[in-house]
């Protein structure tokens, strides 16, 4: 009796496992076949296109790549530096704006109004226009003490634009923390400021870490926009090279450098969205 009770489900189990294996094999087969068809088809379409020989020569020339790469890499280093400084500034300024916007105290009304205008304006204007306006407008004022270096001006424009976006991300995070958390913090005797600092903000920032990282990735790419006011960053260097040699390969080199940074960042965002989202 006990023997049949243990062997009978065992047999069913083996059957099910065999079926599962068959299904897995079939799925893998279908995935492989469809990949070959889709990717192969796309490759065939491009490679047999009438312009392909020219495209290969002007976009994917190995010798041009080797010649241009050191300079493009050098330009990309400037992108990285600008990105890091702007990102740090954005994280701080955006947090300050978000805190001002969620604060209810009447004394802060003018500052609150200003922050709302800041977010509306700088988030509402295309980043490329901001770079252009700050890059050419600020030096035109001819005021003592204002920066004239296009790298700094470009960085300022990016900071204005991205602090608008990021402050809204923070604000969404702060508003997503349940009212009961503030109540509990106040009930143990904390001030409003302490409740924000020790209870609300830590939870809010944890929650918005994935969207924040997402904005990092976007900013990292948008640093290339400062090229329109002159700095010799990767895209600008590649463009100059292209203008001189009538070859677009350096632009591909710049694109690849961006991918080297943005793909790992994107994977980090994915991982945080999956595992960190629960916390």
């Amino acid at each position: 009796m006990t023997e049949t009770a243990t062997t009978a489900p065992g047999a069913r189990r083996l059957e099910r496992e065999a079926a599962k294996r068959r299904r897995a094999r079939r799925n893998a087969g279908i995935a492989a076949a469809s990949s070959v068809i889709v990717i192969g088809g796309l490759a065939a379409l491009i490679l047999t296109s009438p312009g392909w020989p020219t495209v290969r020569e002007t976009f994917f020339s190995w010798s041009e790549f080797r010649n241009a790469f050191p300079e493009v890499l050098n330009g990309f280093w400037l992108d990285i530096k600008v990105f890091m400084v702007v990102e740090a500034a954005v994280l701080v300024i955006a947090l300050v704006i978000a805190m001002i916007r969620v604060n209810r105290s009447p004394g802060l009304f003018p500052v609150r109004l200003l922050s709302t205008v800041w977010v509306d304006v700088f988030r509402g204007v295309p980043t490329v226009l901001l770079v252009y306006l700050v890059g050419f407008g600020v030096p035109a004022l001819e005021l003592e003490g204002l920066p004239t270096d296009p790298v700094v001006l470009g960085g300022i424009a990016l900071t204005l634009s991205y602090s608008g976006y990021v402050s809204e991300v923070y604000r969404a995070g702060i508003n997503s923390v349940h009212r009961g958390q503030t109540d509990a913090a106040l009930s143990v005797g904390l001030t409003q400021t302490q409740a924000m600092r020790h209870v609300v903000l830590p939870q809010a920032i944890r929650r918005v870490a994935p969207p924040l990282l997402n904005d990092f990735v976007a900013l990292q790419k948008d640093v290339a926009l400062i090229s329109i006011i002159g700095p010799q960053e990767a895209f600008r260097v590649a463009q100059i090279y292209q203008g001189e040699n009538f070859n677009y390969t350096p632009i591909i080199a710049a694109a690849m450098l961006y991918l080297v940074i943005t793909i790992p960042l994107a994977r980090i965002v994915d991982r945080m969205g999956g595992a960190g989202g629960v916390r």
Binding site: H178, Q181, A184, L186, S187, V188, G189, L190, T191, H198
Partner: protein
């Protein structure tokens, strides 16, 4: 038990409305030192609002509330100083999920009462042990059962050595088998002489632990007195109807 001693909490003619909806219409009651008052009444009768008003988490519209004879609802009184003298336990625990159990208990001590870390943690550990949570200090709240979380919340509220504790339906969010351990913690506080206002649906518990029961109906205290009298020989028609409904639902 003779109702003696100076009142710790006095509520006088308190009204509170949220927009058009008036929740409290002139509530009066006292809580004497070492006394536990059970607030009973249907959902929406204003029990939670009343407790929130006492802790100044809501601003009252009219009337006054006194703590140790001093008015606390005057706009000139800083609410933070008042809240440091009171402890609140919420229905949904409201523990801080990003902090360990021990950090939850000591946060107010360290940041509000400016107690040193070592002293606060020592007291915190002792409190957690007292409520049966020794060994759970470093866990996150989410790793605990509802009953354990609520006991952490009780320890947190008690850590500030409050003049009075306000308990808001502390067992309502719990699975039935976890209610007992939380009520045990409240009994312990009562035995230690803690002054308490207990909003509750647990009539048997109110009868056992409260010195006085106040029945809140449509924002007014319709009837109050010793538990035996209010729960067994209520004078008011509304109280009778409320208790009858509870009996039908098997809650009393």
């Amino acid at each position: 038990m003779a109702r003696g001693g100076p009142p710790v909490i006095e509520v006088r003619g308190v009204t509170k409305a949220f927009g058009e909806r008036e929740v409290l219409h002139g509530v009066d009651f006292d809580v004497a030192e070492h006394e536990a008052v059970a607030l009973i009444g249907a959902s929406g009768s204003g029990k939670s609002t009343l407790l929130r008003c006492i802790d100044l988490l809501e601003e009252i519209d009219d009337g006054d509330i006194f703590l140790d004879g001093e008015v606390i609802t005057d706009p000139s009184v800083p609410p933070v100083a008042v809240r440091r003298k009171l402890g609140v336990v919420f229905q949904a625990y409201n523990l801080f999920p990003h902090m360990s159990v021990l950090q939850n208990v000591v946060l107010g001590q360290m940041r509000a009462q400016k107690v040193g870390r070592r002293e606060a943690e020592e007291e915190g550990r002792a409190l957690l042990a007292r409520f049966g949570l020794a060994g759970r200090e470093d866990d996150r709240p989410e790793e605990l059962s509802g009953g354990q979380q609520q006991r952490v919340a009780i320890a947190r509220a008690f850590a500030g050595k409050p003049r009075a504790l306000l308990l808001d339906e502390v067992t309502s969010a719990l699975d039935p088998e976890l209610v007992g351990e939380v009520l045990e913690a409240v009994r312990d506080l009562k035995a230690a002489g803690m002054t308490m206002v207990i909003a509750t649906h647990e009539m048997a518990f109110a009868r056992e632990v409260a010195d006085e029961v106040a029945f809140l109906h449509q924002g007014r205290i319709v009837e109050s007195g010793p538990p035996r009298q209010v729960l067994e020989e209520p004078h008011a028609e509304e109280t009778r109807r409320f208790l009858a409904r509870l009996l039908e639902a098997g809650r009393a």
